[in-house]
Amino acid sequence: MAERSFEREVQDLKLGAGEIFRGEGILAITKALLQSGVAYVGGYQGSPISHLMDVLADAKDVMQDLGVHFETSASEAAAAAMLSASVMYPVRGAVTWKSTAGTNVASDALSNLSSGGVIGGALIVIGEDFGEGSSIMQERSHAFAMKSQIWLLDPRPNLPSIVKAVEDGFELSEASSTPVMLQVRIRACHVHGQFVAKDNQKPKHTLREALENPVRDVNRIVLPPANYLHEKDKLERRWPAAVEFVKQRKLNELFGPGEGEIGIVMLGGMYNSVMRALQQLGLADVYGCSLVPLYVMNVAYPLIDDELVAFCSGKTAVLMVEEGAPDYIEQALNTILCRRDIQTRVSGKDVLPMGGEYTAPVMLKGIREFISVHARTLLRNQPPVPDPTPVLNDPKIKALAKVVPPRPPGFCIGCPERPIFAAMKLVEKELGPHHVSADIGCHLFSILPPFNIGGTTMGYGLGPASASAFNVEAGKRAIAVMGDGGFWHNGLASSVGNAVFNKQDGVILVVDNYYSAATGGQDIMSSRALNPHRKTNNSIVKAVKGIGVEWVRQIDHTYDVAKMRDTLREALTTREKGPKVIVASSECMLNKQRRVRPQFLKAVKNGERVVKQRFGVDEDVCTGDHACIRLSGCPSLSVKHTDDPLKDDPVAAIDNNCVGCGNCGEVSEAAVLCPSFYRADIIHNPNWWDRFVHRMRGAVIGWLQRRREARRIVFAE
């Protein structure tokens, strides 16, 4: 169950011809898939494409009506392999994941898929996680397209263009027997816009028909000698077919005047930023009229040599705008022009930066430099461009930089992973620091303050594998952390199996929060919820035992910091050899609250007796050392300045967002911190017995309190 309900968005998937779809880019893609008569969809969740998966998971009735099969793939590799259904049968399929991380995982299947080629349209929607807001290494997915010969679409970042790219993509795939990747960047995935919908289409050829009428053709399988034939077929038939299709259908677009001294060649995804820069230079207006000829490559790969040659011929120079390194297209463009002896100068990464996101100022600077070298006269009537530098150079603003703190991501309020790392901190204080290999997932935030735990991250499900070299005699053991998502994605075999087989003498900590939490709370194998469409509740402990781990400990309540600490200590010090696996399980608090809070509010409304817990700090008792915060980092546990003239430092304070997870109390108890924390149990709708007991207790306690107050001589407040 995803953390958000997509009920409303599911309604958008039902829109018919002529109706206006309003919403996010990634949801427009989802709708476009259905409009294209897709027969099956798979994928692995991850920013920025999680919503595509989430909506389809919630859209069972729509999918059923259309006869579309939707699968939550175990990994990107599984998703890519799923496309093999389109190899022998004319069924359209689409898969999605976050790239380049996911494309890396999928690349084995992708190579095999593209070698044999497809009959049914095969579309891979990749969320290009590049630039600001990205959470992964900065690489281009472009390389995969080139090396495996998969076509790559990079449409202009508006909903109609993106939707059209999906529809074109399937046709291109079928016309050239080649899988097609559709790349959308973070901002485009989250862009809000609108397009005119079409009716959804049932698949022309269904999976059922395929299953009941199996086809096989040895020549389509990657085995010698067919693999050599594939290479030939790719280069001699499929490539020209694709080029022809792109040309004929005019997938790439020309804007601006037909002739010009200079021109700009850009990937579709760069179009809006280029237009904004031209507008600021006085060379375009906001409605798309440009004084500079523009060639917009909605197809990033393959290049259409003829179109490029036609565009560049007669111009003194063109600017190639592609984001990220290396400058594949610029190099190719140079080769194309060079081979035909065309003297147009190609500019690109000489005026634009090699790496990093092409933000508005970067784009503006690059384009201005290009034009000022090659067509200076164009800039004659240049309006003043927006320039914040005088402001930024002022001492007042410079002083601000020292004051404004960075805001790194961290664990949510009440996160069950917090106590795990608090316990690890405590063990570290006893046994000294250890080498800690981290994985991918929420737990990775332990690397940041206040925990500062974790040395490396090598990929999803690879945490323990990345500690495998440290399997030597030493006074300390390596610790590897892996989430439940990573565990099922790849970790069981690549990390745990690897550790068992190689008798790895380290500690493997599996953080089990019942969901693929970092990507939005999707169900996975070991989720505890009952999901009618998936088989959940598969035990991680059974899995690791089944694969041969002998030393396994299950902790069912991660908030028990003392137990967590003791178990970790045992794992690090036991004489037993081989991998020591600790499975620490508690439900992701974000998802738990989404599940529990409505129930709680309903119960309160119905007059039922319910107890809400939250924590607080006695500020008189708190001395303002903040040791508790260094073992927590909870957004709800903060500091506040007091008006007490005898206190210099701000005291700890807990705000109303506290969910009463228990970490504050457990940590202050286990770490022997201080007695300032209290837990308040607030009984809503108390019954007569509650009220009676409370009255009795109140009578005794109140009498004692009054007795003392009467004897005490103090200043009035």
């Binding site: 906001v286 002022d394 949510c412 050392d625 457990e666 837990r679 308040a680 001589i713």
Partner: protein
């Protein structure tokens, strides 16, 4: 837009613009996945021309932004640093409340950023600023901050839409519309009437004037002593100290405090304190009170069982009249604390026998969750707090006294040679705080800083150096910054 509530606000603004015939486009960039990193939202809107939709950018151009909305003070600062706020164009709408970053909270001292720097910067960089505590205002109206920000945006009159169009947008969104409209109205009115809050770095410390009548003859005598024996400038802190110590122990203990301060003020006068505004006496008034009201088991128990505390907890957790509240305290007493609370000789006798101490520690040393609202737990804490009468005879009291006198002796000894350094030496007491290990760590930092005194005594700038040492000691838990600073001092 940055900060909490940006998603809802973005949806509202886009819906508003579209309802008014504009083409609107929003994008967002989540700060690492969808978790607690700050998500930034960006909106562009423009009417279409002859049916042609405008081409809108997916990211802001620094220097080309009309409105910046920050749902938190430092978020506004971040926008300014990104160059999004310029004097020719940008209206800044910011909530002045703070939500502290981890780097601000985790510091053992005070690591919070000064919001006045943001105000100064905004005043310089923005065309106009609307800044008040919209979070509090939203809460007062039973809503969330997005509604208040939307109200402030309407009042700012930067978007070419009527107030009624804003309200219609909220109504159309449905859920919680009533509360949202209340917060919207309140923020609208507030942004019109008083668009700016005064922002202070920290709230003012409460220094009460000396009362004419304190309600009891013995208290009146204490107040009388402050008035008669001490310079005016120290009265506020002395009164705070006296109040704390009467509360901590009794009237006699407060008198002891005044006696001790009396001796110090004499020395202060001898060394020309009058010319320095009695800085030594003022610092002593504060820190001697803090030192004398040390945090022991008796005090913790005393604070936990008070009637006023029960009422305060109810208020803090927002309990309604018909709800019942029970608190659970998380205490972890060790044998150290028990020995400290025993009569001096008995406590020492046990401490001198490590095996006995360890055996007893095994009995005592564990976390105890005390339900203060139940009779048995309350009674036990009540009994412990009742040990107040015996406090002066405890081992802890004896040790605190020794430590205090050594510290005061060292500081007083510096008066003749280096007055400023003597004052700073008093202020070093700030380093001693917390309980158990934390207390020990604070104590050791204090000791290390004080050990540098001989190196600094002869230096004109000794006080500055000592202040730097103190600041360094409060920067991190392990004292790494302090180590570095001490090395520097050693090389002077």
């Amino acid at each position: 837009m940055g900060g909490q509530g940006g998603g809802v606000l973005t949806d509202w603004i886009v819906a508003l613009a579209e309802a008014q015939g504009f083409a609107a486009q929003s994008t967002s960039v989540p700060g690492v996945a969808q978790r607690t990193g700050a998500t930034i939202y960006y909106i562009e809107m423009l009417p279409p021309r002859d049916g042609v939709a405008p081409i809108l950018s997916l990211m802001p151009t620094p220097g080309d932004v009309d409105v910046v909305i920050a749902a938190e003070m430092m978020e506004a600062g971040r926008s300014i640093l990104r160059g999004l706020v310029t004097p020719d164009k940008t209206v800044v709408i910011a909530s002045t409340h703070r939500s502290f970053a981890v780097s601000e909270k985790e510091v053992p001292g005070d690591g919070t950023g000064d919001p006045r720097a943001v105000v100064d910067a905004a005043d310089f960089a923005a065309k106009r600023t609307i800044a008040f505590d919209m979070e509090a205002l939203a809460l007062e109206n039973g809503s969330v901050i997005s509604a208040a920000l939307f109200g402030a945006l309407a009042a700012a009159a930067v978007l070419p839409f009527d107030r009624s169009a804003f309200e219609a947008t909220i109504r159309a969104a449905g859920r919680g519309a009533e509360a949202s409209l209340r917060a919207f109205d309140a923020a609208y009115a507030r942004a019109r009437d008083k668009p700016r809050d005064d922002v202070a770095a920290v709230p003012r410390k409460r220094l009460d004037p000396l009362p004419d009548f304190a309600g009891h003859p013995s208290l009146d005598r204490l107040v009388g002593r402050i008035r008669a024996e001490f310079p005016d400038v120290a009265h506020g802190l002395l009164f705070a100290g006296v109040k704390r110590l009467v509360d901590f122990q009794d009237v006699a203990y407060a008198n002891e405090y005044l006696d001790r301060l009396g001796a110090l003020v004499v020395r202060d006068r001898e060394h020309g304190g009058a010319a320095d505004g009695f800085a030594f006496t003022v610092a002593a008034a504060k820190y001697v009170a803090v030192a004398m009201a040390y945090d022991d088991v008796i005090r913790v128990a005393d604070l936990k069982v008070r009637g006023a505390r029960f009422a305060r907890v109810r208020a803090e957790v927002g309990a309604k009249a018909d709800q019942i509240v029970y608190t659970t305290e998380y205490l972890h007493p060790r044998m150290d604390e028990v020995c400290g609370t025993l009569p001096k000789r008995l406590g020492q006798w046990i401490e001198d026998r490590p095996r006995l101490f360890a055996a007893l520690d095994r009995l005592v040393n564990r976390g105890r969750r005390m339900r203060t609202g139940t009779v048995v737990w309350f009674a036990s804490l009540y009994l412990v707090s009742g040990l107040r009468g015996m406090r002066r005879g405890t081992l802890r009291h004896y040790r605190e006294r020794l430590h205090r006198e050594a510290w005061l002796g060292a500081a007083t000894g510096l008066l003749s040679s280096n007055y400023d350094l003597a004052v700073e030496a008093l202020k070093c007491r700030r380093l001693v705080k917390g309980y158990s290990d934390t207390h020990a760590r604070g104590q050791s930092k204090f000791d290390r800083v004080m050990a540098a005194l001989p190196l600094l005594a002869g230096r004109q700038d000794g006080a500055d150096w000592l202040r730097r040492l103190c600041q360094a000691a409060l920067m991190d838990e392990e004292g790494l910054a302090l180590d570095g600073a001490l090395k520097t001092v050693a090389t002077l």
